[in-house]
């Protein structure tokens, strides 16, 4: 669309908030269609094992991608994109997920999850940083890609971009790479976990340690099963909680070694807290509330009521997966050439292997049931 056309279109727009609200309505509509398919396809195709095996993340992402194609063709996708709140939907869904996870599981899984997160993040970050340097990438892009591939995708890239003052297009590029690699891994990792005969706990730890975006981790964990989803989420949330540490380290590194500019912000405890993903607290709080509440009611009533929270969780996750499909774009990947893609692909392979070894070492024999 030319500038003139877009100016004309904007002058017709009564208020700026209409587009994001319309965007949310699009997400809700596609989410309702996903829920309808999820509830009915197995009955419509009774006897087909495939229909039964397909779960809601698959429908949600496919409908999101179809919606993406239609809205892009109609020329309105970018204006509606303010309503595609993937991060908000996924985080609300994860807070609600906390209600179905016993506090004891969080406490017992936290130890191995922290060890796995620290070893994995350090190994993959340093490998990506080293390879990016070998291939001559800009230091800021190296930092973004390393943070994105080693920690948790888009939110890590956003946090790292702030820390190293990266340019907008570098952030857009890193975020696109994260999503381009995360989408296929939603389907590939559960299939590999099944082929390798991994236990649900090891598969969950592998998925949580390896896939970059929290939404994709949740989608892949859901495909494996409830126990795998619980462990995948705890591992992922632990990595998310370490964003603050990595961002402070990056801020310090860029302030003192790469740029050495006067007046660069000094890393502090306040900065650590500012970067800490606060929804992790909501996830733990929901687990505390539900674990306590379940001790006060009969088991059957407790199960039925937590089932309602699970239905709400599924709704928010559906909205998040629909948003992933709607947000996906290939255009910004075409501009930067093959080297960052090569670095990201190599780092992803290292991530897959190291995460599998760590998951097998730390979570075999672990029971989430």
């Amino acid at each position: 669309m030319s500038t003139e056309q877009s100016t004309r279109a904007e002058s017709r727009t009564p208020a700026a908030w209409h587009w994001p609200v319309a965007g949310v309505l699009v997400v809700l509509l596609l989410g309702a269609a996903t829920r309808l398919l999820d509830k009915n396809v197995a009955a419509w195709f009774a006897g087909s094992g495939l229909a039964k095996a397909i779960e809601f993340p698959v429908y949600a992402i496919i409908l999101g991608l179809l919606g993406n194609a239609v809205l892009t063709a109609a020329g309105v996708r970018d204006r509606l994109s303010g309503g595609f709140r993937t991060e908000f939907f996924i985080k609300t869904g994860l807070v609600l997920l906390g209600a179905s996870i016993n506090l004891k599981l969080i406490v017992t899984a936290a130890g191995p999850a922290i060890v796995q997160a620290i070893v994995l993040i350090s190994t993959v970050f340093l490998f990506t940083w080293w390879l990016g340097g070998k291939l001559g990438l800009d230091d800021r892009l190296r930092a973004l890609l390393s943070a994105a591939v080693s920690i948790c995708g888009v939110s890590a890239a956003i946090a790292a971009a702030g820390a190293v003052q990266a340019r907008r297009e570098q952030l857009a590029y890193s975020a696109s790479l994260v999503i381009a690699f995360a989408l296929p891994s939603i389907f590939i990792l559960p299939a590999l976990a099944s082929a390798l005969g991994l236990s649900p706990e090891v598969a969950g730890a592998w998925i949580g340690g390896n896939i970059d975006t929290t939404a994709a981790v949740t989608a892949a964990g859901t495909l494996v099963g409830e126990n795998a989803l619980a462990i995948a989420t705890i591992v992922k949330v632990t990595q998310n909680a370490l964003i603050g540490v990595v961002v402070v380290a990056l801020t310090a590194w860029f302030a003192f070694r790469v740029e050495r500019t006067a007046g660069s912000p000094r890393p502090s405890v306040a900065e650590l807290w500012r970067r800490f993903p606060k929804f992790v607290l909501g996830f733990v709080a929901a687990s505390v509330i539900a674990t306590w509440w379940l001790t006060t009611v009969p088991a059957a009533e407790g199960k039925a009521v937590i089932g309602v929270a699970n239905d709400l969780r599924t709704w928010f996750l559906i909205l998040a997966f629909v948003s992933i499909g709607l947000e996906f774009r290939v255009a910004s990947l075409k501009d930067a050439g093959w080297r960052p893609v090569g670095v990201f692909a190599a780092a992803t392979v290292v991530n897959v292997v190291v995460a599998l070894v760590l998951a097998a070492l730390l979570f075999s024999g672990f029971s989430a049931g």
Partner: protein, 44 residues
């Protein structure tokens, strides 16, 4: 290399606010569920 605008702090502020918004919405919904305001069978 052209000097372009770095990501504004507004972006990270939005992400941080979404964290709190998700925490509040999630916990409020959970409380409404366990207090029976959202009864079983209401969520499609």
């Amino acid at each position: 290399m052209s000097t372009q605008e770095p990501p504004t702090s507004g972006e990270s502020r939005t992400a941080l606010n979404e964290d709190w918004a998700a925490t509040i919405v999630g916990l409020v919904l959970l409380v409404l569920v366990i207090t029976g305001v959202i009864p079983t069978g209401l969520v499609p």
